[in-house]
């Protein structure tokens, strides 16, 4: 970021008099704004697509009244959420009730900062990238717990407790399933991980096809991450048919909107991490994006990345509209009895593979066989 600021100061003579840190700060704010706009747009469009996909799968049409073919439904929803009365229950804990949605939203939104959208399109290429995502999303737990408690509603409380227990226990398999990608790249930075899957092997350069263990890792990650973001079949915290709506049952208006946005934000983060860690990120198959001019390279890689990520989001929606929901003890059992041991075994397998074959994957070995 500072390098960018220096180049900006050099390029624009008008900024010469301004202290460097001010430029950097302004730049940071601008980038954050861009990310926020992207996140909000995705969340809006995502909600529309979710409903459209639901409609298609359920042999009906889905929203089609607002705008051409229902395209503007999300704007109508957004306006509705903003204009709705913001109700705070009489016996709720007012301060925590108001505070909780922000924790959830911040926790979800902060993760967008390290998503590698393109060759040079990343808000902050932290060298602890993946770890950072895991850390900030833990804010969501606190927000959900407080929301459940502050509502002074037993269903909300149960939902909050469920959510917290679920997110905490699924953090482990999620982390363990992502480590193979880290091991292969030798870095926690998401950009490094994406770069490690480049090269001229095309889609076989992806970590997904690196070795059998990474292949399973991807599915383990995807399953566990679905649970961590409370997607069906793991949507117990807001299980509509059991807990009415879970931790957000008492929320209305824009505060509910924040929970809603955070949910879609989490969905994208999961898809983006899966894309970056296993599906080659912004790498264009058989093509080195870095050779293109800055603008075109970035646009191309952005397109590729978003395509992959949205495909993942679609698959999540597809799963969501197919499967029933687990029970809370089964959910825990699934994490501790199935996902955690499997991810550990998988991790061991990947480590051994890397040790034995000196970091080379199956496609790499085949490629070297043919020279």
């Amino acid at each position: 970021m500072e390098a960018l600021a220096i180049s900006l100061v050099n390029a624009v003579p008008l900024l010469a008099g301004v202290p460097l840190w001010t430029v950097t700060l302004l730049l940071m704010v601008a980038v954050a704004a861009v990310i926020l706009v992207f996140a909000l747009t995705f969340e809006g469009v995502g909600s529309l697509v979710l409903r459209k996909v639901a409609g298609d799968i359920q042999a009906r049409i889905g929203p089609n009244r607002v705008g051409p073919n229902g395209m503007l439904q999300f704007l109508a929803d957004g306006v509705k959420l903003v204009l709705k009365e913001d109700i705070i229950p009489a016996n709720a804990d007012r301060l925590l009730f108001k505070l909780a949605p922000y924790f959830v939203f911040v926790g979800s939104f902060a993760a967008f900062v390290v998503v590698p959208f393109g060759v040079g399109l990343i808000a902050a290429d932290l060298n602890i990238g993946i770890y950072y995502v895991m850390a900030v999303t833990s804010l969501v737990v606190i927000g959900v717990l407080l929301a459940g408690w502050a509502s002074n509603n037993k269903w909300a409380l149960l939902g909050g407790m469920r959510a917290a227990a679920q997110i905490v226990s699924y953090e482990i398999p999620v982390g363990m399933a992502l480590i193979p990608a880290v091991l292969i790249a030798g870095s926690l930075s998401l950009q490094d991980i994406v770069r490690s899957q480049g090269g001229l092997l095309g889609i076989f350069g992806w970590n997904l096809f690196h070795n059998p263990f990474t292949f399973f890792s991807f599915f383990l990650y995807f399953t566990a991450a679905q649970a961590e973001t409370n997607q069906t079949p793991f949507d117990l915290p807001e299980a509509e048919s059991e807990l009415v709506s879970g931790y957000n049952v008492e929320y209305s208006g824009i505060r509910f909107g924040l929970f809603f946005l955070a949910e879609f934000g989490d969905m994208f983060i999961v898809a983006a991490l899966a894309t970056a860690c296993f599906l080659g990120g912004w790498n264009v198959p058989f093509f080195h994006v870095g050779t293109l001019p800055w603008i075109w390279g970035n646009l191309l890689s952005l397109g590729v990345f978003l395509t992959k990520a949205f495909a993942m989001v679609l698959i999540m929606m597809w799963v969501r509209w197919t499967l029933p929901r687990l029970r809370v003890d089964q959910l825990m059992r699934m994490s501790w009895k199935y996902l955690v041991p499997l991810t550990f075994v998988n991790l061991l397998g990947v480590s051994l593979w890397l040790l034995v074959f000196r970091g080379k994957g199956i496609p790499g070995m085949i490629a070297s066989l043919f020279g």
Binding site: D56, I57, A59, R60, I61, V319, Y338, L342
Partner: protein
């Protein structure tokens, strides 16, 4: 739980999920599977025996009260007066369509098929009172009553005159009865309201025109 069962569990979960997802995918991709009817624009074909809103053709209605009696929830109310020909004349016929449960019992019992189900099913109103269908406007009721009363009175006067004539013609047979009839007719005529609204006299839209003659014939038969 052995390792085999453990792995079987996982495989089964994956396989059954994949099976389900194949089905949902098929529905998701195939646009022919959409069954939604875009209601206000598209409508479904209403079958012949559809039980929609009730409609009473008051021209044929004989005010027999069958529908009122059979209705389990008293949503039909009817008021009628006896006309000059001893037949009932409707002066109000209301169906509370907000209360009606479209069971069709009233239509079934209607002897002259004047009460029918229409194919209408859309109705919305902001006041409960609007849900009461008046087949005869409420303000027409006094008019009809007055008109019928007038006709009854006229018929009674005529009948009395005839009876008197008959009595005069044939004094030997049944004088007492004839006199009685004449008395009754006179009394009835006296009962009829003296002040009649002018509007009713001027126009009687649903007036059963041939009633007085029919009445005469009926009496002659005696």
């Amino acid at each position: 739980m052995g390792l085999k069962a453990y792995l079987n569990d996982i495989v089964e979960a994956v396989v059954t999920t994949a099976k389900g997802m194949r089905i949902t995918a098929r529905y998701g991709v195939d646009p022919k599977e959409e069954v939604t009817l875009q209601y206000p624009e598209e409508r479904w074909e209403i079958p012949k025996g559809y039980r929609g809103f009730l409609h009473n053709d008051i021209k044929t209605c004989t005010a027999c009260n069958m529908c009122v009696k059979v209705c389990p929830i008293d949503c039909i109310s009817l008021e009628s007066v006896r006309g000059a020909d001893k037949k009932m004349v409707l002066c109000s016929y209301d169906i509370n369509i907000g209360r009606c449960m479209y069971c069709g019992l009233c239509v079934e019992v209607c002897p002259v098929n004047s009460l029918l189900h229409t194919s209408g099913y859309e109705m919305a109103s902001v006041a409960l009172g609007e849900l009461i269908l008046h087949f005869i406007a409420a303000e027409d009721a006094p008019e009809i009553k007055a008109r019928v009363a007038r006709q009854v009175a006229e018929a009674a006067v005529k009948a009395a005159a005839q009876a008197a004539a008959k009595a005069a013609e044939v004094p030997s047979s049944g004088t007492a009865e004839a006199a009685k009839v004449a008395e009754a007719a006179k009394a009835e005529a006296a009962k009829a309201p003296v002040v009649e609204p002018k509007a009713a006299m001027e126009e009687a839209p649903q007036a059963p025109v041939s009633e007085p003659t029919v009445a005469k014939e009926g009496e002659k038969k005696e």
